[in-house]
């Protein structure tokens, strides 16, 4: 019987909820594992889960410097989508979408995946052409997309001003109906529990302080809880990639770390039942199940490892919010936070073998890491287990920049702050 079920809820309710088991164990580190995954965020935990479930590699440890969910997996705006245009991207993110659609069932853990749709607003005819082209590319690669007229948008999102008098008139919008949101903490906890039940050791408060080496080869990690040897070491540390890879002697990578702020308003009655993005600036907003509006905009735009941002971006995001939904201008902000993004040089991720023997690298998520969590873990686990990429992540190599094979969705060139 599944551990979490209506029957289990009832039984535990009648016995005072005394018999629930912890979602994951707190084991002591073993001296050696087949695979050590550095980083206990969504991607690291998903990697460990799929290593155990898909490839039968259960002698695995996930080492996390803080507690589970303390990094970017708890600092995003929870949006899940696969509305990309370049084939490598749309196929990868569509694989992620399919994993999301079955995730609560597979993990027996409610990740509250809600396919409320994402609507990208277009404000000029050329932007409309561009979005329709993207929609066609998505349909071509197996994702879903629908073009909406202003009248249809007005019906779907009643708070929007779709009149021609608006400061940024809306000429249409690209809707991906299967996109949506998920409860980000639950994704971390669900994967952690799933991996733990398959035998993975999750080691919290276990910061990596160095790498064990035999010549060029990486043979383990030195941590705050002692040395741990491993046949394979996999790195999935999001915005800390630069810092962790320096410990391995790799001092230059095609990555810059930047801060992205996000915001939550006070709770409101339901006003937006989809995800809306503002095409004239950069804003994305949805309403959480608790009622708060969850929204964000651009990164601050300069290198940062501080998990907090500065005021100009706050002002910019608030003004865009008020421009798009004038009726929501009096709503008060409840809290804001910053997460550190490893912005890659072409805006696309890196899931690869290397760069050193015995090492595997998962990074460069820019600010799109959350929606990729399942496919990132799935592809990274495949890459680690087979010492070679799956066709879905074969394009996401580290050397693509030097081979001239960049995957530049936005066409911004090697300027990470613009991706």
């Amino acid at each position: 019987m599944a551990e979490y079920s209506a029957l289990a809820l009832l039984k535990n309710a009648l016995t005072g909820n005394r018999d629930w088991k912890p979602a994951w164990r707190k084991p002591e580190p073993k001296p050696e594992y087949d695979v050590v995954v550095v980083g206990g965020g969504g991607h690291g935990l998903a990697t460990a889960y799929y290593l155990a479930r898909e490839h039968g590699i259960t002698n695995v440890a996930v080492v996390e410097k803080g507690w589970l969910g303390s990094g970017n997996v708890g600092r995003n705006t929870t949006i899940v989508r696969s509305n990309y245009m370049l084939p490598a991207n749309v196929r990868f993110y569509e694989h992620s979408m399919k994993l999301w659609e079955n995730l609560s069932h597979e993990l027996n853990y409610n990740v509250m995946f809600s396919q409320r749709g994402i609507l990208n607003l277009a404000h000029t005819p050329s932007q409309a052409d561009d979005f329709i082209r993207r929609g066609n590319a998505m349909l071509h690669d197996g994702a879903d997309a629908v073009w909406l007229t202003p009248a249809e948008i007005a019906k779907k999102v009643p708070g929007l001003d779709v009149s021609a008098k608006a400061r940024f008139p809306i000429v249409g919008g690209l809707l991906q109906p299967r996109a949506g949101t998920a409860r980000h903490d639950a994704v971390a906890w669900g994967y952690a529990r799933g991996a733990d039940r398959l035998g993975v050791d999750i080691l919290e408060n276990c910061e990596v302080t160095g790498f064990l080496r035999e010549g060029e080869r990486v043979t383990g990690v030195a941590t705050a809880r002692g040395e741990i040897r491993a046949k394979k070491v996999a790195i999935a540390v999001a915005g800390s990639t630069g810092r962790v890879m320096k410990l391995a002697g790799i001092d230059r990578l095609p990555i810059e770390s930047h801060v992205l702020q996000a915001f939550v308003s006070e709770s409101l009655k339901p006003v937006i039942d989809t995800v809306v993005t503002f095409g004239a600036g950069h804003l994305y907003v949805s309403q959480s199940d608790k009622g708060g509006l969850v929204f964000g905009g651009d990164i601050d735009g300069y290198n940062s490892y501080a998990q907090r941002g500065n005021l100009p971006v706050v002002e910019e995001v608030m003004s865009e919010m008020a421009s798009l939904f004038p009726g929501l201008a009096p709503v008060r902000l409840l809290r804001s936070w910053g997460g550190i993004m490893d912005m890659s040089m072409d805006g696309s991720p890196i899931i690869t073998t290397g760069p050193l023997p015995g090492m595997f690298l998962n990074s460069g998520w820019c600010y799109g890491g959350f929606k990729a969590t399942p496919a990132s873990g799935w592809c990274f686990a495949w890459t680690i287990a087979k010492d070679a990429p799956h066709p879905l992540n074969a394009a996401f190599t580290l050397d693509r920049f030097h081979r001239g094979a960049v995957i530049d969705e936005k066409g911004q060139g090697a300027t990470p702050r613009l991706h």
């Binding site: 230059r252 990578l253 990555i255 810059e256 300069y302 290198n303 501080a306 100009p312 090697a414 300027t415």
Partner: protein, 101 residues
């Protein structure tokens, strides 16, 4: 965040435009060393700590600056004119137009 522009004094960060990492020496324009150009375009030190970077005071005197700023705390360590640094560098020998390589 206030940036102390050496010409205008301390001004809000919103007056400035970030122009990126100043730790990357640009290869000689005539160089055909592919590795050097690859490194210049794509690879970054991504420093956690004091970081040398270019900013332009685009909403003020328009001067290009070299700013040293902590990426851990946002504290500004120093700010100077980029032109002063460029002038201090040893001059590269330049080939004359039309000269054979």
């Amino acid at each position: 965040m206030l940036i102390p522009c050496p010409y205008c004094g301390p001004r809000d960060v919103s007056e400035f435009t970030y122009q990126g990492d100043a730790n990357r020496p640009r290869p000689d324009p005539l160089s055909t060393d592919r590795q050097a150009w690859d490194g210049y375009v794509y690879d970054r030190l991504n420093t956690a700590g004091d970081h040398r970077e270019y900013w332009q005071h685009s909403g003020g005197c328009r001067a290009h600056l070299v700013v040293v700023r902590s990426t851990l705390t946002h504290a500004i360590v120093s700010a100077g004119f980029a032109r002063d640094e460029a002038a201090a560098k040893p001059k590269k020998t330049r080939r004359k137009a039309g000269a054979k390589p």
